[in-house]
Symmetry: C2
Subunit: 360 residues, 2 copies
């Protein structure tokens, strides 16, 4: 068994996805494990992987209590092996990030059968002796994608070549990863030289590489972000997955370190208009969201410390909670407030945002 | 031997220093180890400890190559034991935080003799088998004060009772710890109910407790800061040691997480007027410092997210590089720019700043 805790390469990956060394080196195709998850929100890791890399997903493994159906064939470990699976990816992210005892038998069976186990949980696979033992016997790898690289550098603030776009949010969980992936896809479809740069566990599973930025020791966050989007040809775009929100009292420091290290030329503000208070702040009395224009002003003030040309190029809305009849007025209002193209990536695509990003 | 890597108490310490459980539980008095350090700047950990807790320091141990003299009696391990020493504290912080091989013999001798070894280095004492073995045999403890507590909470943003003062800086290494310690001392001398809250290794050695904030995983920085200054009686002051600078591209995220978690009522801006570019940014072309008023505006904009009453109460200058004849004009200029009391804690004390902090 090779415990893959430190299998991140510290060398900046080359900029072409095709040529990039698979620093996490997930072996596809995947069997997605949904355990006993009760709702689709907590299954977002697996659902995201299917959405953006469906060609790599051969089936799902669900415990009897599972109440989520990702629409893949239900396979047991033997069936997944027959279908060619090389890894079992934990597609669930329960609160707290623990690995419940009810999953261990399935993880042991998969590891024993030689499937790599890929986890984005806070808990470490290597903390479960029975999983470690099963993997040791079969040669399977245990890959914790939340474990950051060792020996990360401190941020330098040095200007790097190439163009960078970072998605930021008025709150957590407002579609920053989705927007970044949609923008990468749109740019790639237009023939641009582009890479998606992942900063969270689902993004890393989708991209096959990245840095789990919220797991990095605070002193090294901006350095990790610098490493994530290295110098590149002038016309190359890195589209970087944002984390947290500069106005969220729990996570603003993570967001600022990522912003400074990313040195973005272009920023996209992600927003959920149905959100009235910041996620997770109910117990604190509820923090009101900043307005879009306040968010933009705050972010630019900080971003221009590292890139005097930083500007916003669009607003990405999650309008799933908005009535159809109110949609047009909402877009109109936000466009007027910000002077930017406004789009819901799921309904509208991100063509207008990419148009604006490419304009001078 | 009890490896003291996880000997931090997660319970918020009670607010009275006298009654506070010594979560790091350093045993005094101390023998200070200066190794082969070549200059006073890199010996600041030990020098700071002597400055603020001289009554706890019985001697210094220096290798022949050492070029620093902290003014304590030179003692070997046997001499230190005779003088009552209970711990040997590494008083040096070389760049990179490694423990050089040239120190290991001294550390082994001290551990073998039963002295606890206290280190603020990035490198872990427990990574040296010969030190571990010596400590195991004698029962000495190996205490790495840079190792943060486990199971830190995520920041909640919940308002806490009591008053908090945080020192912030226009740059790194501009006297934030010194200012905080001086303010604590001044407040204590006035009979106020006050605690110094340490966020860096030297501060933790001085206070005997604290959280090494730049070693905390980024997701938990504001939570760690919240834990560091728990709810307290309305009249109690926590004086919190700042870290980094909101305008430093390497460390701003750390500073913002600490700011949000600290919920300061009062802020003191620390500044070194001889500094023209941010420390460590030469290779990046040199980042200019923000002006004092810009720094104040930026910090208040972010601080008021968690405490709408946050305000600055003073400017703490390091004027060691300022000519005597230019001092008055400099104070005058900064006082006019900020409307705040301006003082060099070393030359002037911090009485004027504490006066202003206590005014409504």
């Amino acid at each position: 068994m090779s415990l893959a805790k430190n299998n991140w390469d510290l060398e900046p990956p080359p900029i072409q996805s095709e040529a990039r060394p698979t620093v996490v080196s997930l072996k596809s195709p995947y069997l997605l494990f949904f355990g006993d998850v009760q709702d689709y929100g907590h299954a977002k890791t697996g659902l995201g992987l299917i959405q953006w890399r469906s060609e790599l997903c051969v089936g799902q493994l669900r415990l009897p209590e599972c109440r989520v159906d990702a629409g893949l064939p239900d396979l047991d470990v033997a069936g997944a092996l027959s279908a060619g699976a090389q890894s079992m990816v934990i597609g669930v992210a329960p609160g707290g990030g623990a690995i419940p005892q009810s999953w261990v038998e399935s993880l042991v069976l998969a590891a024993r059968a030689g499937l790599d186990i890929v986890s984005g949980m806070h808990a470490r696979l290597s903390d479960f002796p029975e999983i470690v033992e099963a993997a040791r016997k079969s040669g399977a790898r245990l890959i914790d994608v939340r474990t950051p690289p060792k020996n990360l550098p401190i941020g330098s603030g040095k200007k790097r070549s190439g163009k960078r776009l970072l998605t930021v949010g008025t709150d957590c969980a407002v579609g920053k990863k989705y927007a970044a992936l949609a923008i990468e896809k749109e740019m790639r479809a237009r023939g641009l030289n582009v890479d998606f740069r992942a900063t969270g566990q689902t993004g890393i599973m989708i991209a096959g590489s990245g840095v789990p930025i919220d797991s990095v020791v605070s002193d090294f966050v901006s350095g990790a972000a610098e490493m994530l989007s290295p110098s590149a040809p002038d016309e190359h775009w890195d589209v970087i997955e944002g984390q947290g929100s500069l106005s969220h009292p729990s996570f603003a420091g993570v967001s600022l370190g990522l912003l400074h290290g990313s040195q973005p030329d272009a920023l996209v503000l992600c927003h959920d208009p149905s959100r009235t208070i910041l996620l997770g702040t109910e117990d604190a009395g509820g923090f009101e969201l900043l307005s879009l224009s306040e968010s933009i002003e705050q972010c630019l003030g900080l971003a221009r410390r590292v890139n005097s040309n930083a500007r916003f190029v669009g607003v990405s809305l999650n309008t799933s909670g908005v009535e159809e009849t109110k949609r047009a007025a909402l877009y109109e209002r936000f466009a007027r407030e910000t002077g930017l193209p406004v789009a819901d990536p799921i309904r509208d695509g991100v063509g207008s945002i990419v148009d604006f990003a490419l304009s001078e």
